[in-house]
Amino acid sequence: MNRFEWTSAGAVAAAARLGPVTVAEAMATQSGAPGTAATVLKAGGIDLLDLMKEGLLTPRRIVNLRGIPELGRILEGADGSLRIGSLVTLAQIAEHPLVARRYRALAQAAGLPASPQIRNVATIGGNLLQRPHCWYFRSLHHHCLRKGGATCFAFSGENRYHAVFAHEGCAMVHPSTTAPALVALGARIELLRRDGSRRMVALESLFLTPEEDIRRENDLKPGEILAAIILPPMKPGVRSWYERQGEQDSFDWPVAEVAVVVKLDSPGICREAAVILGAAAPVPYRAKAAESALIGKPSSAGNARDAARAAVAGADPLSGNGYKLPVFEALVARAILHAANQG
């Protein structure tokens, strides 16, 4: 790991004034060899330290955000919305009673990644903005497209953990386990700019496909700081569920995950649905066909199965990851039924 300067920011504006760039930008300035020019922000530091230990990122200065109180709070809005500061840890989200009651898929998603030790430190902001965990991307010896190289190694290589959808150009899977639940729940995010102004966008629109930009996973602009995630008030009849399957039950990446949000009317007919797949594509992947299959129908095992089949119908698996399709199909059906059957 390289030597670096360490600064602790007491306020967002102070951090912004130090001229930080995104991690993707810091890595993109490097042509093959790691650059050292950048100032980067540190939230929990889980991914940042990994990248530095792997020799992929060699920042000049690290600005620690952990001392900024406003980023570390969960606040309920007067309208029933919930504002989660970007530095709230996954463990805090998983244990928060309001999250558990209203946004169950998020509580489940935040309570399962990695290990308890990591969830106690990892922040929701860092979880959303972490860089891919594709093993070629993480290897110093594989100069892949996303790092400015000429090829994606996964397509003809070892791709058991890679994408089965929307992988034009790059077969990474989006690494955030909370993103599918947040997208399904209709979360918006608040971005602070260097000049102090704010930008609000739907979380779903933050993520970039490889075709949109193969060097970045999200549309965070230089100098922008993710301040908060805002969950909308929950309408009556809305319920959610998250399912995941890894090869192991703890400290493992999912091979498939799904977050489902449904709005059922009083006879139990589905009026709105969101089905978002994780570990499926370079972005949290909306299974539109599954959503359409649900709407207007009563919740039943048969309808859930039909929707699950629709969810994987358009998949394009690689040489080594076709097994993900039956896993996704099973998880989607289970998540729909669990969501619908909650009290």
Binding site: S139, F153, G157, W253, P317, S319, G320, Y323, V327, A330
Partner: protein, 794 residues
């Protein structure tokens, strides 16, 4: 001398504590008298807490990485980024000039791998240009005042490589047009099981073999007699050792002495190896290890990295610390080779086996010995047995011994075939084994395990309704009961009554130090805490290695005999004070007493009668009283091998392919159990390692670039907390009257049976056999035929 004549003595024998028999052995008078069964002992066979347990959990235990010597330098190794390349030039000048650097050397050590044989008629004086053979192959080393200076200097080493064609998968390597890993015939030591390196074996391209040694009878006739034939092809993956403590050394080359502190399974072996390599007398080399965080076969010798550290220390004239990081550990510290095995078994209707054949191809990367051990050869009665084992070279780090080398992959295949045979014969897998397994110990273990595991509730394969299906399976272990006769220790009594045991034997983490204290305390009538155990240092009498499941069997008999002998000297010193003949004294409950207990004094007071400051006795491992089955130099095998039977209970979600092991019942034997708590811990470790091998672990080598893609513990998946099943450990007391303690080992048997027991349980759950490790969701879904054909993609 008349006093050395063998004397007949009566020893307990049997496995049923309620009905032990007796056997007469003729033993030397130097041997301690026969030891009663554990039930009648104070310390042996008792759950004595691990002596260094507190130190380990509080962080005060001294591991090799904790060694700090004055003026100590820090070394780093430069490793090849190419899977196969010629080193055209290596320039260390800039690195050597970097501030703080005290030594920079090219490193070309080849221990642990196959080495080319010189072509006939050439002189070995003109070595060909250096080639690196795998990603992670060591090229150079630097030692500097700080770790960061060493790291920085490493980046200044200039190497010009000429990349060469390489091959990174076993199938590709076997094909006729594959690039050759080696240009010509090679030789080398076999560490990983089978296909031995020291016998001349044919080699064509990347395939070296087959080695047919171990075959017997006539399998052609055997299969002709068979009424049922079962066969299958099985595949096992590369598993890495994943020691919690990575390989570490502090080498201190001084003018008159080389001292090496290292994490090793065999201090004496490393001492011998370094003395030979560096041209030093054994008396000038000292190897020391205190606390250790696992080895599992990967820390058996000095290895290339220790040789590098010693060379750097010699050059720098200062102590050099070298600690491998996790990536280096995964690339280049040994591994369990991958295998492809075709197994065929012929049987008669009554279950008796008429023929067994095993045809295996394995790859230990650039190493030799990727065989399947002696499992199929030895475990069941069968007159006709044919084996053909071949090594396939690929451009990957060399394999090495790993817990149950050969037999662990061998058992995965063979115990599944036996399970399949039982089903074809429509008899219970336990009943089939009753017919073909000659071991009375395993027969008893099957009975006990069946009762504890609820075997009678096992249902027909794949008979559960719903997506989550449960199953039960059983598998057995075969491993020799090994003994190292070059094993000695010294027991001392000092004038203040303190007692020391000294031996170079090392505690790999299994607690041999605690067991030795129990043995000495038992003999001297003291408590284990009264005994100061000094081990892990070649300045002490030569102890055995901590591999091959032989440590306890090798070192506890000398410990008891040395205690017995030194106690005799103490009796001599106090006999007159107690007014009794020395042979009429006993040591019990901290006192030396006359046999009738009429007169006694404390052990401490007795010691004050010593004529000199301290007395001592050194004893070495005698042969087993009943003789050994085999012996090669210092290594011997007891007449009776070790048993072990494991029962697995699993659930399999056939929609997601996810396998959960819910319970393992592990029934084992190790002669006389010395410390049930430590044995239980070791069996749990073996089960977890086997479970992790069965379901998760696999080194992933990129077929296109030859790089290990999961040289970390993120994507190299090893069993984690929630993957741990309920593990019930049961062990027999198996008295055989073979040595002063009658103890044998447990390490490897605890690991060998686990993966096939789980595989058989998976079959019982889903009714489809999974013949490939690890049994991931992908493999389960594939076996179930649930993965759709690909329509497009690349």
């Amino acid at each position: 001398m008349a006093g050395n004549e063998l004397r007949p003595m009566q020893y307990p024998v049997g496995i049923d504590p309620a009905a032990l028999g007796e056997v007469e052995r003729r033993v030397s008078p130097d041997e301690a008298p026969p030891l009663p069964p554990n039930a009648r002992l104070a310390w042996i066979g008792k759950a004595v807490p691990r002596a260094n347990g507190h130190a380990k959990v509080t962080g005060s235990a001294l591991f090799t990485v904790d060694r700090k010597l004055p003026g100590m330098l820090h070394a780093r190794l430069l490793r090849s980024p190419w899977p196969h390349a010629r080193v055209l030039s290596l320039d260390l000048d800039a690195a050597a000039r970097y501030p703080g650097v005290r030594a920079a050397l090219p490193i070309h050590e080849t221990v642990g791998r196959a080495v080319p044989l010189p072509p006939p008629g050439t002189s070995p004086s003109t070595p060909p240009a250096r080639q690196v053979l795998y990603v992670g192959d060591i090229v150079a080393g630097v030692a500097a005042a700080t770790p960061s200076a060493a790291e920085a200097a490493l980046r200044l080493v200039h190497v010009e490589y000429q990349p060469l064609p390489f091959v990174a998968d076993i199938e590709g390597a076997r094909s006729g047009d594959a690039p050759h890993v080696f240009d010509g015939p090679v030789a080398g030591d076999s560490h990983a099981g089978g296909a031995g390196g020291d016998v001349p074996i044919a080699q064509q391209g990347n395939v070296r073999g087959p080695d047919r040694s171990g075959s017997r009878g006539n399998v052609r006739e055997g299969f002709a007699q068979a009424e049922i034939v079962v066969e299958g092809e099985f595949r096992t993956q590369v598993q890495t050792h994943c020691c919690l403590e990575t390989h570490a050394v502090v080498a201190d080359w001084e003018a008159d002495q080389l001292t090496v502190y290292m994490s090793t399974q065999y201090t004496v072996g490393v001492r011998d190896e370094l003395a030979r390599v560096f041209g030093l007398p054994l008396s000038r080399v000292r190897v020391v290890v205190d606390a250790m965080g696992g080895g599992f076969g990967s820390k058996s010798g000095a290895g290339n990295y220790v040789r590098a550290a010693v060379a750097l220390s010699r050059q720098a004239k200062a102590p050099v610390r070298l600690v491998l990081d996790r990536r280096e550990e995964q690339l280049d510290s040994g591994n369990r080779p991958a295998t492809v095995q075709r197994v065929r078994v012929g049987a008669r209707r009554d279950g008796s086996l008429s023929a067994v054949s095993v045809d295996s191809y394995g790859t230990a990367g650039v190493g030799i010995g990727a065989g399947v051990g002696n499992f199929a050869q030895s475990i069941y009665s069968c007159a006709n047995f044919a084996i053909a084992q071949s090594d396939v070279f690929i451009n990957a780090g060399p394999g090495s011994a790993m817990r149950g080398p050969g037999n662990t992959p061998g058992a995965f295949a063979f115990e599944q075939i036996i399970d399949e045979l039982a089903e074809r014969l429509a008899i219970d897998p336990l009943a089939l084994r009753d017919r073909i397994d000659p071991s009375a110990v395993r027969r008893a273990e099957r009975r006990i395990g069946a009762a504890h595991s609820g075997w009678s509730r096992r249902h027909a394969p794949g008979s559960d309704a719903g997506p989550v299906k449960r199953g039960r399976g059983v598998a057995q272990s075969f491993w020799g009961a090994n003994v190292q006769t070059n094993s000695a220790c010294e027991v001392r009594i000092l004038r203040d009554g303190s007692v020391e045991l000294l031996s170079s034997v090392q505690d790999i983490g299994t607690g041999i130090g605690t067991v030795l204290a129990q043995v000495v305390a038992e003999e001297l009538g003291l408590r284990p805490g009264d005994i100061v155990v000094r081990i892990g240092d070649t300045d002490f009498p030569a102890g055995p290695p901590s591999y091959g499941s032989m440590t306890t069997a090798s070192i506890t008999p000398p410990a008891r005999n040395a205690s017995h002998q030194v106690l005799g000297k103490l009796f001599d010193a106090v006999a007159s004070a107690l007014g009794a003949a020395p042979e009429n004294l006993v040591a019990v409950a901290g006192r030396i007493a006359t046999a009738d207990k009429s007169r006694s004094m404390s052990f401490r007071e007795a010691a004050t009668h010593l004529r000199t400051e301290r007395i001592s006795a050194v004893a070495s491992r005698s042969d087993d009283y009943g003789g050994f089955a085999r012996r090669f130099g210092d290594l011997a095998s007891a007449r009776n091998a070790l048993g072990g039977v494991q029962f697995a209970e699993v659930s399999v979600d056939v929609h997601t392919g996810s396998v959960h092991v819910e319970r393992i019942v592990a029934v084992h034997d190790c002669g006389r159990p010395m410390n049930p708590r430590q044995i239980e811990s070791q069996v749990q470790g073996g089960v977890l390692m086997g479970l992790s091998y069965a379901l998760y672990e696999e080194r992933v080598l990129d077929r296109n670039t030859g790089h290990v893609l999961n040289a970390d513990l993120e994507y190299y998946k090893i069993g984690r907390s929630r993957d741990v099943p309920e593990i019930e450990v049961i062990f027999l007391e198996n008295y055989q009257g073979m040595s002063a303690t009658d103890a044998y080992g447990i390490a490897e048997p605890a690991n060998i049976a686990t993966a096939p027991a789980i595989a058989n349980a998976v079959y019982n759950a889903i009714g489809v056999r999974v013949r490939e490790l690890p049994m991931t969701p992908a493999k389960i879904l594939s076996a179930l035929g649930r993965i759709p054909q690909r329509s497009g993609g690349q």
